[in-house]
């Protein structure tokens, strides 16, 4: 074996060992690895921003085409839905008035107000081991680790890494995601866990919890990481063990999300939503 080949083999072994050491460092959550990640994210984000534009334009065109094909059916469906929603609007207005009156009567403490930062999705992990997306908003826009990310349909995930001009969202379907949730009809509380598939599992329900397919699940606000009452999904199956929940958000079609700047009166506690692995400490 020549000297050059020996050096090459040694280099392979050294680099492979370096990769393993990096994984161990990453697992032990050292600050250095996290800083490296955010620097990488900020460096790559301008490139991703440019690359994601044609991709999003293409998908818009495809969606438009699909809409045109189903225009007639869609119109009929919307008319019907509009009639139904008008009825709900009337109900909502009546209940709102009642709510304002009762809140004043009870002198109840109102939930702290929230503000939003809108951000564009510039990257999608696309890998089989984690479920994350990259956004073009970072600390300069006021994004802070741990904040909730939502879109028009419901809860998307939680801010896991923040760079200066970009950030990473851990989707609620990721293996490491834990969201304190409540079943809307029965007010039974549990924790929604992701497993990298498109469905969520609702664990830690109290014994004898009442639930049936079609029940809505919303954030409970416990642990202080997510604001309360953000829609998450509906119960799809209640078979043996933990029930499955189908999220409202269609994760393959995310283009814009909103980061909720929830103004807590007290700092969020770390206990409930902290999860494992790469999650906030």
């Amino acid at each position: 074996m020549s000297g050059k080949v020996m050096v090459q083999r040694f280099a392979f072994v050294l680099l492979a060992a370096a990769a393993v050491v990096l994984m161990l460092l990453n697992k032990s959550n050292t600050g250095a690895v996290e800083r490296f990640r955010t620097v990488l994210l900020d460096t790559a984000s301008p490139v991703l921003e440019v690359l994601s534009r044609p991709a999003i334009t293409l998908s818009r065109v495809m969606e438009e085409a699909r809409f045109l094909v189903h225009l007639h059916d869609e119109n009929a469906r919307l008319r019907e839905e509009n009639a139904r929603l008008k009825h709900w609007q009337a109900t909502a207005l009546r209940l709102q008035q009642q709510h304002v009156g009762l809140t004043a009567l009870l002198n109840a403490r109102v939930d702290p107000s929230s503000t939003f930062v809108s951000a564009r999705v510039i990257g999608d992990s696309g890998g089989p081991f984690v479920r994350t997306i990259l956004l073009n908003a970072g600390s300069r826009d006021g994004v802070v680790k741990g904040q909730a990310a939502i879109n028009g349909d419901g809860l998307v995930g939680r801010v896991a890494e923040v760079g200066f001009r970009s950030s990473r969202i851990l989707l609620i379907t990721d293996l490491n995601s834990r969201v304190p949730a409540v079943l809307e009809p029965s007010r039974d509380r549990g924790v929604l866990e992701g497993d990298n598939s498109n469905a969520l599992r609702l664990n830690y329900l109290p014994a004898g919890a009442q639930l049936s397919p079609g029940d809505r699940v919303v954030t409970s606000g416990h642990g202080g990481v997510f604001p309360a009452e953000l829609p998450i999904g509906v119960v799809t199956s209640v078979a043996d063990g933990a029930p499955y929940v189908q999220p409202f958000v269609q994760f393959q079609r995310l283009d814009y999300v909103r980061i909720v700047k929830h103004n807590f009166d007290h700092p969020p506690s770390r206990s409930v939503a902290a999860g494992r692995g790469r999650t906030p400490r």
Partner: protein, 171 residues
């Protein structure tokens, strides 16, 4: 600057083609497509690039470059830092030392070799991620990514080869 210096500079630049294409492969895998109905995982483009270049031009894609590109893939996808770097460096090490078995053979032989690489990396990647997360990671997305990577390989590598043929001509 005289024309000879410029020519040398141009040649140097063109020698970066395999590295640049592999970097592009890393970026393309995280671009959001935003279409419903498509699978949630994208093919492992960087694996195709590393396999291809470690057979045909390993000297233009040195091991440290492969390592750094693997780290970039880890950083962008948000997975455990070092996982893809480890996979790519091991594939590079194995294939570049066995490249004689593939050189001058027909494309099906190359593709068959790639299927073994995909099988190995898919299983190793799944196993490492299970250990890393201390959990049973859903194997279906991993298997789906492996299948997509294998099926799209001829098409992607054809593009690589076309670009490289133009860029590396007379170099």
């Amino acid at each position: 600057m005289n024309s000879l210096t410029w020519r040398r500079f141009g040649i140097r630049l063109r020698l970066l083609t395999p590295g640049a294409l592999t970097l592009a492969a890393v970026f393309v895998s995280v671009v959001p497509v935003g279409l419903s109905g498509l699978p949630e995982v994208t093919p492992f483009f960087a694996l195709m690039a590393v396999y291809h270049w470690s057979i045909y031009r390993p000297e233009l894609l040195p091991a440290p470059v492969v390592f750094v590109l693997g780290l970039a893939q880890d950083g962008l996808t948000g997975g455990p830092l070092g996982l893809f770097a480890l996979i790519l460096i091991v594939v590079y090490g194995l294939v570049s030392t066995q490249r004689r078995a593939f050189l001058g053979r027909t494309f099906p032989v190359e593709w068959f070799g790639f299927s073994l690489v995909v099988l190995g990396t898919t299983m190793a990647g799944w196993l490492i991620s299970c250990i890393y997360f201390v959990a049973l990671v859903d194997p279906r997305p991993v298997a789906l990514q492996g299948a997509l990577t294998l099926v799209t390989y001829p098409c992607v590598v054809w593009i690589f080869a076309r670009i490289a043929r133009t860029a590396l001509r007379r170099v």
